[in-house]
């Protein structure tokens, strides 16, 4: 009896496991032609949710037979984790309007993405909308697996009140060169106006370099990516200058080595932050904000920055892909982009934004600086093993720059060597 019970239990367990493993996916050829209801995911940014719900309502009014449901991306440490988990479970929405380009190679490897280039008008629509900026979003097989949707060019936001408190001119802050930036930071902290001049997270998360190292590197290097032509670019004069600059900020306690449990700029603990235009709307009721470009060694104009771009992507769990593609085009149309800009202050990935939406920038002059910066943005490299590569870089950065446990030159050299090893390991699938 016991033996039979044990066998029965084992069969049940194995059947359960087999059922779980035997998940099915929609047939790509059928799904590409299919129309019907779909679900889209939005980020949890309040302004984006507001735009997303209005966009979906407009679509549903015109297409009652292809109903779209909008939801916020399921909770997770990051959207990428939540999306990755749902790809594996086969529960992704048809579209997600918050896909990090750094995660696209991973999602691709998981067979989680629909190649948008495979739609008859896919290439033409994506390249036509984004212009020259779009090419850096192509995957290594030459296809687009993401629609470059909106950027948040990273700039220096500063608290005018704290600058004034420190005796600095809030309308003309000296932040262009490393020397000026450090002097201003020392004044802010030593005067007691702020606990920190700037307070990016010093944690080991793979994506943190996008808010300290990468904008500064893009500016100092004249627009280089972390990796170009299969080779790391940061063990260079530009990379070493950036690392030395940030090391000084940490060594002189102008930037704390401890993570702030909240929003340091909003709480008045830090006088500056490296963030995109999304933050302007978030701070408008609490902080009098000023905007300045990311500093460089010599302070020259026309500098680049990190895009902090988010793409829209279609997922392989989607059964009604024809509807999803139409919704994607509808949501990224010129009219919807204007509404998105109006609602969120984030920059649609289109060229020459100020000429396309002159009314908005006339009404909101602070955003014009971001629109100008959006013309000169650098994206994360679209290479296999992208997250591994960023994690490797971050580990050396925290060791050498944040905590000074080895020289910054050694840190960059080791990171470059390790990342070269990773690039060789992942290989070029093309």
């Amino acid at each position: 009896m016991l033996r039979r019970t044990a066998y029965a239990l084992l069969v049940l367990a194995l059947a359960g496991t087999a059922t779980a493993c035997g998940r099915s996916a929609p047939d790509p050829a059928t799904a590409a032609e299919a129309r019907g209801p779909i679900t889209v995911w939005l980020s949890n940014n309040a302004q984006e949710v507001q735009w997303g719900r209005a966009m979906v309502a407009a679509w549903n009014k015109a297409h009652p037979d292809q109903h779209v449901t909008a939801q916020q991306i399921p909770a997770g440490k990051t959207s990428e984790e939540a999306i990755s988990a749902s790809i594996i479970a086969g529960t992704t929405a048809c579209l997600a309007f918050n896909t990090s380009p750094a995660a696209v190679p991973t999602f691709q490897k998981q067979n989680g993405l629909v190649p948008l280039s495979d739609f008859p008008d896919g290439e033409k629509y994506i390249a036509g909308r984004g212009g020259s900026l779009t090419d850096q979003y192509r995957s290594t097989d030459g296809k687009f697996y993401q629609l470059p949707w909106k950027s948040n060019p990273v700039m220096i936001l500063y608290n005018k009140k704290l600058f004034a408190k420190a005796g600095l001119d809030p309308e003309h802050p000296k932040l262009a060169t490393y020397k000026e930036f450090l002097e201003t930071s020392r004044t802010l902290v030593h005067s007691g106006a702020a606990k920190a001049a700037i307070w990016p997270s010093p944690s080991s998360d793979f994506f943190q370099p996008w808010y300290d190292f990468y904008p500064a590197f893009a500016a100092q290097s004249g627009g280089k990516q972390l990796i170009e032509d299969g080779k790391p670019q940061f063990d260079s004069a530009a990379g070493r200058q950036v690392a030395a600059f940030w090391r000084t900020l940490y060594a002189e306690k102008l930037a704390p080595q401890e993570q702030y449990p909240g929003d340091s700029l909003n709480d008045g603990k830090a006088a500056m932050a490296t963030v995109g235009p999304w933050a302007v709307a978030a701070y408008k009721d609490s902080v009098d904000i000023g905007v300045a470009p990311v500093p460089t060694a010599d302070g020259g104009s026309g500098k680049h920055s990190f895009s902090d771009e988010k793409s829209a992507a279609m997922f392989s769990a989607c059964e009604n892909r024809a509807t999803a593609w139409d919704v994607l085009k509808f949501a990224s149309s010129a009219a919807q982009d204007g509404k998105f800009l109006e609602a969120t202050g984030q920059m649609p990935m289109r060229e020459d934004l100020t000429a396309k939406y002159p009314g908005y920038f006339a009404k909101n002059p602070m955003y014009k600086a971001f629109a100008d910066q959006a013309e000169r943005v650098v994206e994360v490299p679209n290479v296999p093993g992208s997250i591994d590569i960023w994690q490797t870089f971050r580990d050396e950065w925290t060791k050498s720059v944040v905590f000074g446990r080895e020289s910054t030159d050694t840190g960059l050299r080791k990171a470059s060597s390790d990342i070269t090893g990773l690039l060789n390991e992942y290989g070029d699938p093309s």
Binding site: A6, L9, A25, G90, K109, P202
Partner: protein, 312 residues
């Protein structure tokens, strides 16, 4: 002694003889029925994933969307070689050893002393018993906020210490981060272990205390000569449980030190499994690390058991 369930109602009797075959079969069926949900639970939730984890650890594997036909080739010990040659893994196990060296003796010592105190007739005994148990039943996230309020660089303790405060501060100091986590976890879990010891103390005969008192033993001597040997089985349980929970450390370094910082000084193997398996998409590496961790916990637990049961 056995109970004859086959007898007529009201005629249940006991006897020293073995039950007849039919009765034994009846018992077996009933027993199997009662334990089957738990056996099923164990098989589905623990056994199958464990076997699958071991399988993954010997293959090149990554998670994919449903219906994807992927090749997961056998790679032998390759994932284990990656685990053993990754310096962060070594650091993570060293961190756990530091954690256990601080946490386990502190847990055993404090919980036993507190349990002995709370077992005696003191004023407000109920209040103190509840007070020590509250952190255990409070969410880690809330407790982390308390700890950051106390030991953050701008926290209460540093305000008290002034210029004597450590630099870098407690939670970002590579020498202090792991000990701080060990102390935090000790404090958080103390109530549970005090409760285990309190239960065990009920079994220590009062006559032993009376006899030792008549022999002239004071409170301290009684503690070491009667209480400590009397609760030895509980000590074994406490030590092994503390080792297992310590080796599974995740949320404290994740929340308290920003995901293993500073510079991996508080990274734990489980946190690393999460980072490698979930964040970086290497479940094969994470599976091999998990198997190594299970082996590590077994070895340390067996060694600890031998130590605590020595002299029995």
């Amino acid at each position: 002694m056995s109970v004859n369930l086959d007898a007529a109602p009201g005629a249940v009797h006991t006897s020293g003889a073995a039950p007849r075959g039919k009765a034994r079969r009846g018992l077996s069926r009933a027993g199997a029925l009662f334990v089957s949900p738990y056996v099923l639970f164990i098989v589905v939730v623990f056994a199958v994933p464990l076997v699958y984890t071991v399988w993954i650890s010997f293959h090149r594997f990554y998670f994919t969307a449903p219906g994807t036909d992927i090749d997961s080739p056998w790679v032998g010990l390759s994932n284990y070689r990656d685990v053993f040659t990754d310096p962060v893994v070594g650091q993570a196990f060293l961190n756990i050893l530091i954690f256990l060296v601080i946490n386990v003796p502190l847990t055993v010592g404090l919980s036993l002393v507190l349990a002995a105190a709370l077992n005696s007739k003191i004023r407000g005994r109920g209040f103190f018993r509840a007070a020590f148990y509250v952190p255990y039943v409070t969410a880690s996230v809330a407790l982390v906020a308390v700890w950051q309020f106390l030991f953050g660089s701008d926290g209460f303790v540093n305000h008290l210490l002034g210029s004597h405060a450590p630099d870098p501060s407690w939670l970002v100091n590579s020498h202090l981060a792991m000990p701080m986590i060990a102390v935090f976890v000790t404090w958080k879990q103390l109530g549970f272990f005090v409760m285990l010891y309190l239960a065990s103390l009920q079994n220590v005969g009062k006559e032993l205390y009376e006899a030792s008192a008549m022999d002239g033993a004071g409170k301290v001597r009684q503690f070491f000569s009667v209480t400590v040997p009397g609760v030895r089985p509980a000590t074994t349980l406490v030590v092994i449980y503390a080792i297992i929970t310590g080796a599974n450390l995740f949320s404290e370094p994740y929340l308290l030190t920003g995901g293993g910082g500073p510079d991996h000084a508080s990274t734990s193997p489980v946190l690393l499994m999460y980072q490698k398996g979930i964040e970086q998409g290497h479940p094969d590496f994470a599976a091999a690390l998990g198997v190594v961790l299970v082996a590590f916990v077994m070895v340390v637990s067996i060694a600890a058991r031998k130590l605590t049961e020595r002299g029995d």
